[in-house]
């Protein structure tokens, strides 16, 4: 029963990791680089949600603020930075994204200070279900994540722009030859990625404490999940995120709270050694 409880706790954490990994894998698949600014973009989303929530007290407004502001930020970063660097080596883009993330973190640090801030949500009595303790607030968060995921997958698999996005991810040259305009695909991509990152950041902020370092610590699990799921595979990223979240919680009785983060690192190394294409990835993307 103890372990079942850990699994339940890990699922919410896993949804957050999954959303972050989804953002990483979308950028990796379409724009072809590992975006190290993902974590700090999440932090931005958490602060946007915090402001929305403080101003109105409504979680819906908070969510809207997080999604809107982060999508806009993501698009701005693309327009100002990543667009100019298109075609440079993956490594140059990765280093630039590190710079972008660092910049974002220090700007958030100076605007909001380094004090930790909390979402003040009303306490509710936990639901007991066959001895499992489930926090209704976690259920709400899970519902938010589910809605976000459905939204992303609808965009990816049921809209023309999603189809074009997948075409570019699949084979960039072929997509361009078939008359797909890369610029539009990129704009849609960064808006979508920003929205996903914003939701992930808001959820993370609500589960923990909002501080400028919030998202940076999420970057390693997000990368690990994206690689475990198979780079470029949205479904894989979400499933791997859930797996990783649960594995992290299940590991705490054995390795202790402090080494939770190291689970991501171990998983990352194992996947790269044993099956670098991940669970659902294709081999070509890896080498």
């Amino acid at each position: 029963m103890f372990y079942a409880q850990l699994i339940v706790n890990g699922l919410v954490q896993g949804l957050i990791v999954g959303l972050a990994a989804l953002a990483v894998t979308l950028v990796f698949g379409v724009a072809r680089f590992a975006n190290a600014a993902t974590g700090d973009t999440m932090t931005f989303g958490a602060y946007a949600a915090l402001i929305g929530h403080k101003a109105t007290g409504s979680l819906v407004v908070a969510g809207g603020a997080a999604v809107g502001a982060t999508a806009l930020l993501s698009l701005t970063v693309y327009a100002l930075v990543f667009r100019k660097l298109a075609g440079r080596s993956v490594v140059a883009l990765l280093v630039t994204s590190i710079g972008v993330g660092f910049l974002l973190r220090s700007v958030l640090g100076i605007v909001f200070g380094h004090n930790q801030q909390l979402f003040t949500v009303p306490l509710v009595r936990p639901i007991r279900f066959n001895g499992l303790i489930i926090n209704p607030f976690d259920l709400q968060l899970a519902a938010v994540a589910a809605v976000a995921l459905v939204g992303v997958f609808l965009v990816l698999y049921a809209t023309p722009i999603g189809r074009r996005m997948r075409a570019v991810a699949d084979n960039r040259e072929l997509a361009l030859v078939s008359g797909i305009r890369p610029e539009r695909v990129m704009i849609a991509l960064w808006l979508l990625v920003g929205a996903v990152t914003g939701v992930a950041g808001m959820m993370l902020g609500m589960k923990t404490i909002v501080s400028p370092e919030l998202g940076w610590e999420m970057l390693l699990p997000a990368f690990a999940a994206a690689i475990l799921g198979g780079i470029g595979s949205p479904v894989g990223a979400v499933l791997a995120g859930l797996l990783l979240g649960v594995a992290q919680e299940l590991s705490t009785p054995f390795v202790g709270f402090t080494y939770k983060l190291s689970i991501s690192f171990v998983v990352l190394l194992l996947v790269l050694l044993v099956r670098p294409r991940g669970l659902f990835g294709r081999l070509e993307g890896v080498r």
Binding site: R88, V90, L103, S106, I227, F265, L268
Partner: protein, 299 residues
């Protein structure tokens, strides 16, 4: 004031060692090391433990730091050498975090968050100004030695092969170069240099603790190397000293500007560093000293 300038120069020299490490792995081999701070820490701890607790002489500690850095580098890059270059970057990113976790939590091994203090110094501390000047001379000599070594390596067939691999792995492997071996050698050597930088840092400040090895240092060195030119040792060295000059200058400006608290000033400096990195990469990716293309040797 002179002490202060000497102090800044020593830190600049340590950064110059780190910058040369990054230049070798990133600029020459195309292997991004986002865990530079981790290798820096490994070297610092290796030498600090050996000389403080084991009472070994400092040269032995520095040698141990080099060995530890190189070995750990080999292990870290081992899992990703056959994959795309950005996988290694992600692994090194995690590696630096793990090093900090282990250093903070394994009290029996590293002294935990208290760190290790009372590390033997290069020159007796009671020598006053000569303590700083002497340390500077020794560390600057190490910078010069690494510089000469890298320049030599760069012109050697080994350096040429490395750049060939960076430019086009397929062509290089068709030419019979073992890509995995060259990359592992380059990364491991670079990690060893970072380890040496860590050792010297510890032997100058006589104190190491997990908090000293924040990812911030890695960002600093990336800025130094991109600004100086990431494929030339001279560029990396110049970049490192320029970076320290800039960091120290902003300290003074922050003190002069009214109404700016120390914390705000630190944040502002970080903003400038981040912005600088993004701008240089966007507009002048070759840095101050761009890579010179070498002529093919006459047959």
């Amino acid at each position: 004031m002179l002490t202060y300038i000497l102090f800044a120069l020593v830190i600049g020299s340590v950064y110059a060692l780190l910058a040369q490490s990054l230049m070798l792995s990133w600029g020459l081999a195309g292997l991004v090391n986002l865990g530079l701070a981790g290798f820096f820490a490994v070297g610092a701890y290796a030498s600090a433990m050996l000389t403080t607790w084991g009472h070994a002489p400092i040269p032995l500690g520095v040698a141990a730091a080099m060995l530890a850095g190189g070995l750990v580098g080999l292990v870290v890059c081992f899992s990703t050498l056959r994959l795309r270059d950005d996988y290694l970057a992600i692994v090194t990113l995690g590696f630096a975090e793990i090093v900090r976790l282990v250093a903070s939590n394994e009290v029996w091994l590293t002294g935990g968050t208290d760190g290790i203090s009372g590390i033997p110094v290069l020159v007796p501390r009671d020598a006053g100004i000569w303590f700083h000047a002497g340390s500077l001379a020794i560390i600057a000599a190490a910078v010069a030695a690494v510089y000469l070594l890298l320049r030599r390596l760069l012109r050697s067939p080994w350096g040429r092969s490395l750049r060939a691999i960076r430019e086009d792995q397929t062509v290089a492997s068709v030419a019979g170069k073992s890509i995995v071996r060259f990359k592992a050698q380059a990364f491991s050597l670079a990690a060893a240099i970072a380890g040496v930088a860590g050792a010297f840092y510890g032997h100058y400040t006589s104190y190491v603790a997990p908090d000293l090895f924040q990812p911030l240092i890695t960002i600093y060195i990336f800025l130094a190397v991109t600004a100086g030119g990431n494929a030339r040792p001279a560029g990396a060295v110049i970049g490192a000293y320029l970076l320290v000059a800039f960091l120290e200058a902003t300290r003074f400006i922050a003190e002069l500007a009214p109404g700016v608290s120390a914390v705000q000033a630190a944040s502002l400096r970080e903003i400038v560093v981040g912005l600088g990195l993004v701008l240089v990469l966007s507009f002048r990716p070759d840095g101050l000293l761009p890579e010179r293309s070498q002529k093919a040797p006459a047959l």
